[in-house]
């Protein structure tokens, strides 16, 4: 351990706001050489913003950043690299059209005679770096052709390659890696810690936090909750600090759920028989009833979203039939689905959900207007009426219905999209990750709303990567693994049973 426990990064009183959102408020953070420091918090807690301030992508509105006890203004990512701060970002930020070797070494390529990039040396060099990480592959192939895990490894390799690296920031590096790859990564991180590098590790996998980190800093809603020694913090305590309230607040939902389960219709509203699409999801059976919430559980990429896409008609199945009200569905498109009374709250809010430039009002009436067609345009008065109604109903926090939706917080954007679909008065509502990246309060509101809608006689499909959430809201749970429906549970089941179904038999 070289110079262990020496403070390399000190951030004091950092403030940062975007438009109307206060992303960071008076946050302190320190990092020692030779430690792994986990940065945790719910989505939107401010972790990424804090890292962006440290790596020069964003400038803080107020506060001091000290590197090696010296006050610094980090001007750009380039500048951050020069002073030894290297980052692997959440979404792999590499160039898919360049080769793997280039992605690792671009900007620092070995040169021949100072004039020509020495491609052979570059490839050898890159191969060696990757081998140290335990990855062996053809470094001359284009990065875009590699798996996401390999791309992630390349990004880490790139961050490590900086010879003078003192601080390594890993922003959700494990989200696309499988177990053995994660182990590999941890070995590398530990090795780096031994050599005296300070590592900031952001993840939402709490197991990993406890496995690898020395200290934990918790953020919540842009504020600092505290910094703790990992050994002195219990798991439950950490969760409480992250979400800021005890889980008891959810308890009355179980009651609501029990009551609402009486209203489930026995006849199926929609039935899928042996429905599948090659390369997307294996044939599955599914029946949905009015008044019932069906949860789809499974890991990312297990086929949850694919089923939602098939039901909503974005993809057309190549096997099996879907019947609704006893009629076989022939036309697959979002518009046809809307006319049948199906609605989908898509997984990726930013890319598939909100239309940022448009106002809250326009976003809310969009799907309804699509249903009405091109020439039956809703009058302005009617539009405002509908918008105001849903703003009130869903508690959407916005200065007015004329606010561009991009200026709203994540939770309120999600509610706007919900409003868009509720306005079409659907009979079947599919919610794909409706609570991702929004604060805990809004999460609970949305979960309650789903149960309420079911009680009103709507059929709901609820998809989420958070199992406890699925369990809380769903009357029936369908489990998916590797693009296949593997199990279906109704009534009381305990978490381990479902976990087992999600994770497979091993």
């Amino acid at each position: 351990m070289v110079e262990a426990n020496k403070e390399i990064v000190t951030m004091k009183g950092i403030y940062k706001s975007f438009l109307s959102v206060q992303a960071l408020e008076d946050v302190d953070f320190t990092l020692n050489l030779g430690e792994i420091h986990a940065l945790v918090g719910e989505n939107g807690a401010g972790k990424s913003t804090l890292i962006k301030v440290l790596t020069g992508v964003e400038q803080p509105d107020a506060g001091v950043v000290m590197i090696n006890q010296q006050k610094m203004t980090i001007r750009s990512p380039q500048h951050a690299q020069e002073i030894g701060i290297s980052t692997v970002y959440q979404e792999t930020n590499l160039c898919p059209d360049l080769s793997v070797a280039e992605n690792i070494l671009i900007g620092r390529e070995p040169m021949k005679w100072g004039l020509v990039i020495d491609r052979k040396a570059m490839n050898d060099n890159a191969r060696q770096i990757l081998q140290e990480l335990g990855v062996d592959l053809d470094v001359t192939q284009t990065l875009g052709e590699c798996s996401v895990a390999i791309q992630q490894m390349a990004a880490i390799a790139r961050a490590l390659e900086i010879s003078s690296v003192k601080v390594l920031v890993l922003d959700e590096p494990t989200s696309s890696l499988d177990m053995s790859e994660v182990d590999q990564l941890f070995q590398v991180i530990r090795k780096l810690r031994e050599s005296g590098v300070g590592i900031i590790f952001i993840t939402h996998f709490l197991d990993q936090v406890f496995e690898v980190s020395d200290r934990i800093t918790v953020l919540r809603n842009g504020r600092l909750v505290g910094t703790y020694e990992t050994t002195s913090l219990a798991r439950l305590e950490l969760i409480q600090k992250m979400i800021g309230r005890s889980l008891a607040a959810y308890d009355n939902m179980t009651q609501t759920k029990l009551e609402s389960s009486q209203h489930i219709e026995s006849e199926a509203l929609l039935e899928a028989k042996e429905v599948g699409l090659a390369g997307s999801v294996e044939p599955f059976d599914l029946d949905l009833h009015a008044g019932e919430v069906v949860g789809l559980a499974g890991l990312l990429g297990s086929g949850r979203t694919e089923i939602a896409r098939l039901l909503f008609g974005i993809d057309k199945p190549d096997k099996g039939v879907i019947t609704m009200d006893g009629e076989v569905i022939k036309n697959y498109s979002p518009l046809d689905s809307i006319m049948r009374g199906i609605a989908l709250c898509p997984e990726d809010r930013k890319a598939q959900g909100i239309v940022g430039e448009l106002t809250v009002r326009e976003n809310i009436i969009l799907a309804m207007q699509a249903d009405l067609g091109w020439f039956k345009y809703l009058g302005m008065k009617k539009q405002y009426e509908i918008a105001e109604e849903y703003i009130k109903l869903l508690n959407i926090v916005t200065p007015s219905a004329d606010q561009p939706v991009k200026n709203l917080s994540g939770g309120n954007q999600q509610k706007v999209i919900l409003a868009r679909w509720l306005a079409t008065n659907p009979r079947l509502l599919i919610l794909d990750e409706p609570t991702r990246g929004i604060d805990v309060g809004a999460k609970a509101e949305i979960q309650k709303l789903v149960l309420l809608l079911a009680e009103e006689g709507k059929s709901c499909v609820f998809i989420s990567s958070e199992l406890d959430e699925v369990m809380r809201t769903s009357h029936r749970i369908v489990v998916l693994r590797d693009k296949e429906k593997t199990a279906e549970f109704s009534g009381d089941v305990d978490e381990p049973t479902i976990m087992h179904a999600i994770g497979g038999s091993e």
Binding site: L94, E102, G107
Partner: protein, 328 residues
């Protein structure tokens, strides 16, 4: 090995295809008009399209940067450089002063547009459109009519044929060598220097390039300066081959040049393609023009329709390739 070949084909498909298309078009032409089988006709392509090749090289690099990168000013810079050099030569300025001066002018002009694009956050389309208007406008301000060049040095460079060794009576002019030399320089720049690789990285994903700590701002300005440099060379070559300068010269060349780049397999989204493909794009353009000349009865507008159709075909092939690449 098979895997390697497949990789290679997938990566360089569109460029290889432009080569194949060129061979096909030229072969078809020479079957129809046996006179096209003469080597001189082939080398005439380099003589006639010398300026187009030069500006297309610059255009390729600009388009490779992605994010809507495009340089509409190339034709305008040719007009400006030809007129300005003709006027300076008429005023008795030494040609060895005029040529470097024009090159500096081109570089400065390009750098100015690059600066506006980078720091005023103006769309390249709009900024270089201003460049086009400005360059042509200034050319007209210098002279409303065509200015002829009588300078002996220019005349000598323009009219001295270089006979190619090993072939009888096959010649090119010194000016037709500028393009191929520039091509070699650009191949070096794009594949073997950090400047070139940064261009590809930006075209692939500019945000990533910034986060990777690459000098994106500097490179963007440099790439427009490079295009300005190529256009200035094109302008000098143009004025030498016609021994005149005029604001109306090279009108519409920006379009021919973009078409040549696209036919050559460079994606307008940036990051994919290279200048070798652009060479074939230019040669295809030249071949179509010569076929029409040989025909005589087919009128000149068929060139445009032909170039348009070829662009369509090239884009069709490109999109098939991107689909394939995504799937594999």
């Amino acid at each position: 090995m098979k895997q390697r070949v497949k990789h290679f084909l997938l990566q360089h498909g569109p460029v290889l295809l432009s080569f194949v298309v060129f061979l096909l078009v030229y072969f078809a032409g020479s079957r129809m008009y046996p006179a096209m089988q003469k080597p001189q006709v082939f080398f005439n392509l380099f003589i006639n399209d010398a300026s187009l090749l030069l500006v297309s090289i610059g255009m390729t690099m600009v388009i490779l940067t992605g994010e809507g990168g495009i340089d509409l000013s190339v034709g305008g810079v040719i007009a400006l450089v030809s007129t300005a050099s003709a006027a300076l030569l008429r005023a008795g300025v030494n040609p060895y002063v005029v040529i470097p001066l024009m090159i500096v002018l081109g570089i400065a002009f390009g750098a100015m547009m690059g600066w506006i694009i980078q720091y005023l956050k103006v769309q390249p389309f709009i900024a270089t459109l201003m460049g086009l208007y400005l360059a042509r406008g200034v050319a007209y301000i210098i002279s409303l009519t065509s200015v002829s060049i009588a300078d002996p040095v220019y005349k000598q460079i323009a009219l001295t044929p270089i006979y190619l060794p090993g072939m009888e009576n096959v010649y090119i002019y010194p000016t037709s060598l500028v393009g191929p030399v520039m091509l070699l320089v650009t191949i070096y720049l794009s594949f073997f220097t950090r400047f070139g690789r940064t261009i590809y990285a930006m075209g692939s994903n500019e945000q990533s390039a910034i986060l990777m700590g690459l000098p994106v701002a500097r490179t963007k300005i440099l790439v427009y300066a490079f295009s300005g440099f190529c256009s200035a060379l094109g302008g000098i070559v143009f004025s030498m081959s016609l021994l005149a300068g005029y604001g109306q010269f090279a009108s519409g060349m920006e379009l021919d040049s973009i078409a040549a780049v696209v036919i050559g397999g460079t994606a307008l989204t940036g990051g994919v393609g290279n200048v070798i493909g652009t060479l074939f794009g230019v040669l295809i353009h030249g071949t179509i023009v010569s076929i029409l000349q040989f025909n005589g009865t087919l009128s000149s507008w068929w060139t445009r329709i032909g170039v348009g159709l070829l662009t369509l075909v090239a884009i069709g092939i490109q999109s098939i390739y991107t689909l394939r690449q995504k799937r594999s």
